[in-house]
């Protein structure tokens, strides 16, 4: 219920669109029922008039039938337009909302969610939220309105007829779908789990095809995939049988309700409380009424999926931001030396400290290299400098100003970063570069590409700067991607440079190029260089070794505080 309320809060600004969509959907359904029921009543009345047993003014109903036919078609057209328009508006709103929630979290705040395929999950979940309006809200609300109005109309003729119809409609629209959801829940959950395992096995089998072959394990993998495929089909067979059961049961409900309504209505004709033509109307009315609630079962199905998706999205959106900008940020530092004094950083109170009383001084214009084993805390230091994560105690200053006294955007405008996680966007080389300086002209882009030893290759691409780099730069080689990232950092032209393994995974020749480019880049800048490659380390004026979050050698100190005293 709470999740529903939060969803509604997101949808609130669009309530008039939503109301209009519901109104038009209801109008379409009701005009369909009215058309059929009126037709039945009309021909029965005409037959009676033809037999001379009653007089009948046929002009109004005949015109009404034609009118309803037009109304139904038009309402249906407008309904589709309005609901699609509203869906697209909501889609835009939801994506922007989610992006804005995520923005302050990256990257440190998302660490806890980095399990599994975070992005794949977000994508699917946001898509199901998009569907909430079209698949849950509109059909659910309009079917409920239909149910009330239709039984209300019947009640003006006969309460028992209305009651039996309401019972039938509730069974078909509410009880049956809930029963089916309940019966199918276990098989559905198992199917989701098996599908996940199947996807993993298939991905493994493709990504590792060469290795499986070399290890003589291809046949075993194929057998595994066949097994999972069979298991998935077995669950889906169970669900298909349930669907068949629900087809049978709902196929029984509508005509049985109609028969019951007739059995109740026919004696009323004899008592003179109902005209004979009314029975023709009631038969058609009840049958058509079931079509007006036929949208409910899929809506129930979608609601479960949507709420589960919403909960997962909220879980991410509600993650507290790892760092808050100061209310009144300090002025931008004039100097750019970096000093750490007993710096302690833990990602989580239970974790070992990532930085443990780390102290060093990086003078302005100096290249200081940090080396140490993986996990020694080098990247945590970069996160602290960039204000991606707070630190619990100690000092970290840029030009004498405490880093936490500055806004994240301020600090980041001072720094250019080259690391292994830098992202290339699925856009052109030009767009990827211009991220650093949107107004840069092609001459400037060429200059930085030359400095990054990439221009020779880019100039041979048929589309040059207009070349699309593919998803996460997939259309470039590893070395090209890295040099493009360096070119982007060059273009940013920031006084402080953070180089986190800038030559990792590059071959010797490419490393030579990149080191030459870096040599041009580091000149006159304050540089923190993280690497364990000897030739890259040669760029440094001074090398400090970090081990377990502290500089070696370092004086003894008290343990790091578990909880943030200051962030």
């Amino acid at each position: 219920m709470k999740d529903l309320r939060r969803l509604w809060a997101l949808y609130r600004p669009y309530r008039s669109w939503i109301a209009l969509g519901i109104a038009l959907t209801t109008a379409t359904a009701l005009s369909n029922v009215a058309l059929l029921a009126l037709s039945g009543w009309f021909i029965a009345s005409m037959a009676l008039a033809g037999l001379g047993t009653q007089s009948f003014n046929y002009f109004t109903p005949a015109a009404a039938i034609r009118g309803l036919a037009i109304l139904r078609s038009l309402a249906r057209y407008l309904e589709r337009l309005v609901t699609h328009e509203a869906t697209l508006r909501l889609l835009s709103e939801l994506r922007t909302w989610f992006y804005e929630r995520l923005e302050p979290l990256a990257p440190a705040g998302l660490r806890a969610h980095r399990r599994g395929d975070l992005l794949g999950r977000i994508r699917a979940d946001i898509d199901s939220l998009d569907n909430f309006y079209l698949r849950v809200l509109v059909p659910g609300a309009s079917a409920t309105i239909n149910l009330v109005l239709l039984t209300g109309f019947l009640a003006t003729f006969s309460l028992p007829v209305a009651a039996v119809t309401a019972v039938g409609l509730s069974i078909a629209g509410v009880a049956l779908p809930l029963l089916m959801l309940r019966l199918g829940r276990a098989a559905g959950a198992r199917a989701v789990a098996i599908r996940g395992a199947l996807r993993a096995a298939v991905t493994d089998g493709i990504r590792g095809a060469a290795e499986l072959r070399a290890l003589g394990a291809s046949t075993r993998q194929t057998a595994r995939i066949d097994g999972l495929s069979d298991a998935l089909i077995a669950q889906q067979r169970h669900l298909a049988r349930l669907k068949a059961l629900s087809v049978v049961l709902s196929g029984l409900t509508a005509p049985l309700a109609m028969v019951a309504a007739l059995v109740l209505a026919i004696p009323l004709v004899g008592q003179g409380r109902l005209s004979p033509a009314d029975t023709a109307m009631i038969a058609l009315f009840v049958l058509a009424a079931f079509e007006a609630v036929a949208t409910l079962p899929p809506a129930f199905q979608a609601m479960g999926e949507t709420l589960a998706a919403a909960r997962r999205i909220y879980e991410i959106a509600d993650t507290p931001a790892p760092v808050a900008d100061p209310a009144v940020p300090a002025p931008m530092p004039r100097r750019h030396d970096i000093r750490a004094e007993n710096l302690c950083l833990r990602y989580h109170p239970q974790d070992a400290p990532a930085l443990d009383h780390l102290s060093f001084h990086l003078r302005q214009g100096e290249v200081l290299a940090l080396k140490g084993a993986t996990g020694a805390g080098k990247t945590s230091l970069v996160n602290a400098i960039l204000r991606f994560h707070g630190y619990q105690s100690g000092q970290l200053t840029i030009g004498g100003t405490e880093v936490r006294a500055l806004g994240g955007a301020q600090v980041r405008s001072l720094c250019a970063v080259v690391d292994q996680h830098a992202h290339l966007f699925n856009a052109t080389i030009r767009d990827n570069l211009r991220l650093a300086r949107p107004e840069a002209d092609d001459a400037a882009l060429r200059r930085v590409l030359e400095d990054a030893a990439l221009w020779d290759e880019v100039s041979t691409f048929p589309r040059g700067l207009e070349t699309f780099v593919g998803e996460a730069g997939a259309r470039l080689s590893g070395g090209q991607a890295r040099r493009l990232i360096i070119a982007r950092a060059l273009l940013k032209d920031a006084p402080i440079l953070l180089l986190d393994e800038p030559t990792e995974n590059l071959d010797a020749a490419a490393e030579d190029h990149v080191i030459a480019a870096l040599r041009r880049l580091v000149a006159g800048r304050t540089v923190l260089l993280i690497s364990h490659r000897p030739r890259t380390l040669a760029l440094a004026d001074r090398v400090v070794t970090i081990e377990n979050g502290r500089a070696i050698p370092s004086p003894p100190s008290a343990p790091c505080p578990k909880y943030a005293t200051r962030v």
């Binding site: 039938i65 298939v202 290795e211 070399a214 298909a240 966007f425 070395g479």
Partner: protein, 569 residues
Amino acid sequence: MTTFSARAPDRDTASASERWLRARAHSVRAPIASAALAGTAAAALLIGQAWLLARIIDGVVIRHHDLGQILPLVPPLLGVIAARALVSGLVPVAAFAAGARIRRDLRHHLQTHITALGPAWAGTERSGDLANTLVDGVDEVERYYADYLPQRYLTALIPLAMLAAVVPSDWVSGLILCLTAPLIPAFMILIGKGTEALNQRQWRTLARMSAHVFDAIEGLTTLKLFNASRQEAATVARISDAYRRATMQVLRVAFLSSLMLEFLATLAIALVAVFIGFRLYYAQMHFLPGFFVLLLAPEFFRPLRDMGSQYHARMAAIGAAERIVGCLETPAPDTRGTARLQQVTLITFDRVGFAHETGGQGLSGITLTLARGECLAVTGASGAGKTTLAHLALGFLTPQSGALRIDGADLGSVALDDWLGHVAWLPQSPTLFHGTIAENIRLGWPEAPPEAVEAAARAAVAHDFIATLPEGYATRLGDGGEGLSGGERRRIALARALLKPAEVLILDEPTASLDQGTAARVIATIRDRAAHQAVLLITHDPAAARAAGRILRLDRGRPVPPPPAGEAA
């Protein structure tokens, strides 16, 4: 370099894909026919139900029957209702059977074909795309057989059945239906075309837009570094908005044709009702057939309307089939020899040449020998052909000139899987599979005792970090070894290669992303192994290359003399 032309499927490939889908329907003819038959039987029972209902109403309205006189008609009506409900229940069961068989066969077929295509091909596809094809794509194709095809038959059969019931009762109404009906397929084609355009264009735009949002999310850290992350929110909103406007423009037109369909169907029902009404008024017909026809008129159009909702299933299936056909129609490389090897002692490259079809760096004039008890290092810049050389030695690629011999026998004459049984390989970017660390190390020797696994892990300098994990060797690895560093993943893969009993050991960059201390220990292991295995060591780490007895230096696919001492490899 990859080509940058977007792979946009046009109408031709779409119809080719549909032909392929149709051809597959052959194997599931029986369940599809059963589904169509059950649907038609349900329609026939519906006609019976309408007839009985019409007689009841006729009795009440015209003949002034009371409940007692009506009651004899109720049991047969209930019987028909029950029979119809049961028969309709058979439709999803038969449809599922059709889809299930297709799915199972297709997945097996795809997986086998991917294996047959071999590692050289798998490397060119993005594994995520292909995995989606195998898991979701196959499910989408399934709907073509389970939903679309049966519905197609019903769309032809049910209106005919309705017409057969209507015409004898009232030919005028039959005529109205007959006149409107042909207009509907015409509009269906229009809608189909509209939907097709909508699908091909809009879904791609939607995908692009959604991709943009997720690309921004993925690159959030980078955007923040350039202080561009806040503006990006505006971009996301702007793109979504532009998409909405563009889509609505198309939809307004696309929905118009379905408006016409709805309008025609609804108007036909209204006309049937009004015409019957007036003939009743002038006593030109009886009430019973009139009411009966009125009950059937909406049923005449229902399958046509349902068909509209199956267009999505069809389009999705065609889209998925395109990807599946693309994979299945890639010809598998020629099947190789069948000879078996006993013991491998000597690998010979005799003036081996190879050129990639895609124009990547090939090799030429490679002559080398590698015997058991030796280690040969291959060095050179990336793109110099080192990995190509490894793939040739593995038999994944076949030399186009020269010869590659194993103990004098041409590698081409040896069964690939037999040869691979003698080789252990650490690829440049190793894959860790879903499962425990121990299972991953054991892949090449599933029955290996725990001591052997641990010994291999120690040799690969992996035991120490594995032992610090809370669950040790039983630690489950997620997607691609998530949670481990690059160096840790490589060392687990190295342990896997070391555990496999083999005479030949091919190691592609075993020391990449390892710190110096760890790298030195790995190099010591390689030295040990060179005592009794034939080790082909591909590396650009000078320290590792020094561990080898001999060094082959490649430059743009050709062997070159080693650089003067003091310079790096």
